[in-house]
Amino acid sequence: MATADLPTTHADDRPLEPEMIPLVENKHTLVSIGDAIGGVVLAGKHPRGWWIGFLAGFAMLQILGVAVIWLLYMGVGIWGIDMPVAWGFAIINFVWWIGIGHAGTLISAILLLMHQKWRTSINRFSEAMTIFAVMCAGLFPLLHMGRPYFFYWLYPFPNVAGMWPQFRSPLTWDVFAVTTYFTVSLVFWYLGLVPDLAALRDAAQKRWQRIFYGILALGWRGSAIHWRRYEKVYLILGGISTPLVLSVHTVVSFDFAVSIVPLWHATIFPPFFVAGAIYSGFAMVVALAIPIRRWYKLEHILTDHHIDVMAKVMLATGFLVTYGYVSEFWMAWYGHSLYEWGTTLQRMFGPYAWSYWILIFTNCVFPLTFLWSKRIRRSAFWLELICISVLIGMWFERYVIVITLSRDYVPSSWGRYAPTVWDYATMIGSMGLFLTLFFLFIRYLPMISITEMRELLPKKQGGGGGHSIMENAP
């Protein structure tokens, strides 16, 4: 990037980054930002990539429809679950999806509190990703119940049987954690959208757009008093979402760690799960950002610098996850527990050893070797490949954990687990649900926060000079 055309810094502009890399390319104004981002939604012209992505997702969604109807007709017996592996794909996919969702909250909340202004270009669509990923995640426990129409039995509600949930069980904690997570993510996302929806309402030319965005914008008019309240709420939501995102995956890990299965009953599980969640979530954000910014020509707003920073976060969390694998091995060996060590050997050399080594290769060896190189971090093709590798690796991590059930204390209780075609159909279908929702989101809602990009713009160009919400919301 040539330094010659950098704008001279206004006295009131806060430095955006220590190295002063512009997070939004030069020559933008308040109007051009609104048009670049809002135009995607309002103009209604969509690149071929959008149609390919949407139709692929929609086709996969039909597979989900078939799989769910057959499941409701036949029952969960159509899946490969049986003793001793009674959870199977349902819990693997649940944990995988909810982990992917965590990057959205991390980007929108934790990076907000840390003044990481580069989050601005990616927070909106990673928050959307969170919501859709949590929807996909929630699907699996619901379907695994066998009688999903009784899902409300999970919640405490007065009933003639006088039954109440058992609040000392991690499975009940999980219900509350995931419900809260979904609701709070939705609130956070919607609140961030309100000023942008107002901007779309005022910029829209078509009548239906003015009505649609007008209703969603709640009559927002940008009053200074309203902004002050709004920023306070947004800041507090960021503050409470930060422990929330950590708590949700911690509770998910309790589903495993509170049991007494060898290698599950470990105190490392909560931090290890959280790190893995962030790892896979960032991989998904980057995997989606690379094609989308290219299709919509948004490289001037979602710059190479953003992608590079996210790849660095992946590098860091990748090492945390690897530390978790090494630690599991070490604890099993050092702990001198016959069962821990025996299960470790089964995991590494037993009938499912292939899945363990796929995990190590796709999650640790391949990404963590190549992410060090700046050239690879800035190469769309290689980074996309690495992200897909991490997504596969994190899926296999959960597979390896769940499959531990097949070989535990007594050989007489050993068994094998094999997914059926309906397991695969539900998994592919959930990806279809995710892609369909995601592409509809891109089509109808601004995928980057217009308001926050305007705040980031230097004062000379009419913006807020990199003013952050922390400074505005006493």
Partner: protein
């Protein structure tokens, strides 16, 4: 026939001055308050903290509101679990006490977060008087740019010092891009 007591047509909502920069809007807000106006507001496409300061709104009420919401949720969450597992449907798990508070921590926390967030959302909407799909300011064509690239100050007609001519002259003295009367209809 119109008389001075009952003027024909809609009443004015206020006078709306348009500015090109946030700094000009903030300066105008300060000057308007110095001139004795109390019923006014500033509008901008992105938050400008100084404008709220100029309007003498240094701190919003949302913090205590959300704190109370969260506290209520946390207490309700904790006692719900204790009551339901001790009295509603007594579960004796391995002889552990009914008030086994460590196992109630996760749900207490989740309920706290949930109620804080929902209180924040609904309190914000309610305290700001939203949703309000029509507002007199939306009658102004220029005001469309309040979410785009312009900054506005509106002195409202119910201000005790409001006078159509004098207030307009005052606003014109602040070097605005335009001044217009917005009708309340």
């Amino acid at each position: 026939m119109s008389t001075p007591d009952a003027p024909a047509g809609p009443r004015p909502y206020g006078l709306l001055a348009e500015f090109e920069t946030a700094d000009a809007m903030v300066a105008a807000t300060y000057k308007a308050r110095e001139a004795g106006y109390t019923r006014l507001d500033a509008y901008s496409p992105y938050p400008v903290g100084e404008a709220a300061d100029a309007l003498n709104f240094p701190k919003s009420e949302m913090g205590p509101v959300m704190f109370l919401g969260g506290l209520t949720g946390a207490c309700a969450g904790f006692f719900m679990q204790y009551y339901l597992n001790a009295y509603g449907y007594s579960l004796n798990v391995g002889g552990r006490p009914y008030l086994s508070w460590p196992s109630f921590v996760p749900i207490t926390f989740e309920m706290m977060v949930l109620t804080t967030a929902l209180t924040g959302l609904f309190a914000l909407i309610a305290i700001c008087g939203l949703p309000r799909y029509h507002h007199p300011l939306f009658n102004s064509k220029a005001f469309d740019r309040a979410t785009r690239d312009r900054f506005f100050v509106c002195i409202e007609a119910d201000d005790p010092n409001y006078d159509p001519a004098a207030t307009r002259a005052f606003l014109n003295g602040l070097n605005p891009a335009s001044v217009e009367e917005v009708l309340d209809e």
